[in-house]
Amino acid sequence: MTQALLAIEDLHVSYRGHDSTAHILDGVDITIGRGQSVGLVGESGSGKSTVAFALLGLLGDNAEVSTRRAAFDGRETSLGMDEATALRGTDIAMIFQDPMTALNPMFTIGTQLVDIQRRRFPRQSRRSLWARAETMLADVGVPDVAARMHRYPHEFSGGMRQRVVIAMALLVEPKLLIADEPTTALDATIEAQVVEVLDRLRQRTSASMLVVSHSMGLIAELCDSVIVMYAGTVVEHGPVHVVFSRPRHPYTRALLACEIDPYAAFDLSQDLATIPGTVPDPAFRPQGCIFASRCPARHDRCSERPPRRQTGEGRTYSCWQEAA
């Protein structure tokens, strides 16, 4: 197999508080192959955004980050702030949930799309960067590009703004594109347009993608493999179709059971599935299996840390239960 674009083993992130330390990520492994698209799912607070921010060097000063090993594009890295900052905007680009956070309301879209390319292509003229930006905007499906380049962000609808942000991210020709909840702020019609744009780009460029979302549907449509996170740990990982059609970890199962299928036969008076209980406070992580307090399959052994199992389909999961 060719070398992965990104390989991180045993990522830990913690925040020191006044009386305790919150262990936010506890031994997360992530591998993203070249041209591969990996999804990161889990309830809020499971640490998805923290993973993304760690890769981008955007964690606060009070964050303590450590890894056993971290390599990006064949180079070892420490995920220290300086290195990550150097990668951000050139090798790694980010699409945020709210497009307005990435856009400056004071400047036209054209100016912003040109400026973003300056660091990556320092020798090119403004005119050629402008032309590149126009082409890219058209590529992501913005109509009437020549006029739109002179408009300000507030003159765009939510969906068009998110396209501008995607164009912005792609203009630097990143090796890795990180999208954190890229469609949560959009309605179904626009979400489908954005998914189509991302999907098209994925087939055309060799960029890898990390898609962070709690929408299983989005991950199913955009990703090759999925990492299921719970309370700062990876509980299951594998090809999307394997994990979603035959989930093994009780948490993955519980999460998928909550998905609503409006086309299935159901009884209106029947309750929707939920996962009783809450994610444990990262400052007080339980011993043993982290999911035990909410797990319907919990048994005596679960007070010890569960082993990581492989199922031979490229899937791993961490649980005391044998594959059922």
Partner: protein
């Protein structure tokens, strides 16, 4: 037949230069959940605001249980308007951190001078029935779980004894499990208190699962409405079909049918002539550009506004849903 609990008749909502809601009629029947769907900017929240009285109707009427608000006395109007309550998108954020649960729950009664032993007893019983025991009354919001805080916020809305709840994107940004908890709670309260809901959401799965009927909006107009299961399985309006097909799904077999609409919703300040959807309709015909289709209702309670509705496919509906 009994009056619908809420009737909106030829309603128009205008902001200075544009008409966000253009001649819409809606009926909410007692005990039902009516889902309202459509693209961002099509006018859903404008309808919601008009119904709860936050936005005046430029034209048309609103009636609660058959009583038209416009014709009622000022005092009567206030009483009728109080029967309709808005559920905020993030109700938990509206809880003051300095008040105990007891104070939070009694506040709405005190505000309207209705704090009697009987009313308070009713609130406590309601709280108890959805899992908020008396032992929680002395706690502050930060000492509650997310689910408990949600229950407190909901009971505050219910303290006004509404018969109609307008919920605009109540599940946006929620985890799927939390979303399930909220929807279960809403249904339990509805059954218990005989409420009716107008539910606005971009989440088509949620609407498809909990709404009895659905109305689909496009650019300030209702383009289709009908019983949820039938409408989801056999949309008659090309816009409904495209909207439903856009829904992301875990089921790969369903993805092939996707119709991705190009372009954006036109501005309501300059709606296209004829059928408002004609600039994006995959099935557009010459007639569509000049003549606006009327909303026509058939005997099954399905209404559609299109010159060339999709052939009413025989919808195969599982018994459980139809029942």
């Amino acid at each position: 037949m009994a009056h619908p609990v809420l009737t909106l008749d030829n309603a128009v909502v205008r902001y200075d230069r544009l008409t966000a809601v253009d001649n819409i009629s809606l009926e909410l029947r007692r005990g039902e959940t009516l889902g309202l769907i459509g693209e961002s900017g099509c006018g859903k929240s404008s309808i919601a605001r008009a119904i709860v009285g936050l936005q005046p109707l430029a034209e048309g009427t609103l009636a609660v249980e058959g009583e038209t608000l416009k014709d009622a006395s000022r005092q009567r109007r206030l009483i009728l308007q109080r029967r309709i309550q808005l559920l905020f998108q993030d109700p938990v954020a509206s809880l003051s951190p300095r008040l105990t649960v007891r104070a939070l729950l009694s506040e709405p009664l005190k505000i309207r001078n209705a704090f009697t032993a009987e009313n308070w007893g009713r609130i406590v019983a309601l709280a108890e029935s959805i899992g908020l025991g008396e032992q929680l009354l002395s706690r502050y919001p930060h000492q509650l779980s997310g689910g408990q805080a949600r229950r407190v916020a909901l009971i505050r809305v219910l303290a006004a004894e509404p018969s109609i709840i307008v919920a605009d994107e109540p599940t946006a940004g929620l985890d799927i499990s939390v979303q399930g908890d909220l929807l279960n709670l809403l249904r339990a309260l509805k059954d218990h208190l005989g409420l009716s809901y107008l539910l606005i959401s971009h989440n088509l799965n949620v609407i498809g699962r909990v709404a009895d009927r659905v109305a689909v909006m496009y650019l300030g107009r209702i383009v289709e409405s009908g019983p949820t299961a039938a409408l989801f399985r056999g949309p008659a309006h090309p816009y409904t079909q495209a909207l439903l097909s856009a829904n992301l799904t875990l089921d790969p077999s369903r993805r092939h049918e996707r119709i991705v609409l190009s372009g954006e919703l036109p501005s309501p300040a300059h709606p296209p002539a004829g059928c408002r959807f004609h600039s994006r309709c995959p099935l557009v015909q010459p007639k569509c550009a000049t003549e606006a289709p009327a909303l026509r209702t058939d005997e099954d309670g399905r209404a559609v506004a299109c010159h060339f509705p999709l052939a009413a496919r025989p919808a195969v509906i599982p018994q459980a849903i139809a029942g």
